[in-house]
């Protein structure tokens, strides 16, 4: 039986889908019985979806730099 600590250490791989069947089963069995770990995994999943949007709006200079590179890329494709 996995301990909570082990489940949390492996939760990243579970959420990334990078885990083998045996490990997945062991974690799923633990999650059926442990509401704290279920809560951790559910909330971590929401957090991961929010991470790409955590950055503040880019400054005009940053937007200009990116657009310039994109235009350059379109003008001279590799």
């Amino acid at each position: 039986m996995l301990r909570c600590r082990e489940v949390i250490d492996n939760a990243d791989q579970l959420l990334d889908g990078a885990i083998n069947k045996r490990q997945r089963l062991a974690i799923k069995i633990h999650l059926l019985m442990c509401r704290h770990c279920r809560r951790y995994v559910r909330q971590m999943q929401a957090l991961l979806c929010a991470i790409p949007f955590m950055h503040k709006k880019a400054s005009d200079a940053e937007v200009y730099l990116v657009m310039e590179h994109i235009h350059e890329h379109q003008a001279y494709p590799p």
Partner: protein, 155 residues
Amino acid sequence: MAKNKAHQAISQFEGRSQIRTWLGRIVINEAKMQLRQRGRELLFSDWRPDDEPGDALADRFNHNGSWQSPPMQWDMDTPESLLMREDLANCLEEVLNAMPPNQRTVLELRDTTGFSFEEICNELSLSASNARVILHRARSQLFKLVDHYEETGEC
């Protein structure tokens, strides 16, 4: 007609994929520059798990590995609601900015830019196990912050 559409779709796909790679390259270059500027910090390839403070949630478990201080039930448990609170969003950005460059880079590449683990390991000359440890530490810091915010209403 179908051939034209397919061709268009392929070139758009290639364009997006290249932009993603290019954005990832910016993240990596920025991180390497920061590491050089800070001087004392180790390059990715020299990194060992003991080189930085451990998992931000380590003290939440007892010696048996069970929760001693379990996570709070978050009111904001969807990505949208997490980002709605401006004060929390500011705190999350602060934590991102204060992260060791190793953690920030792996987090940005995996969770913002969408690089695969294989790509991250290749680009940063990291072993898969070290990359996993670094990513877990970065994500744990963010989780701890939100959990604390839910408990106290402050960062």
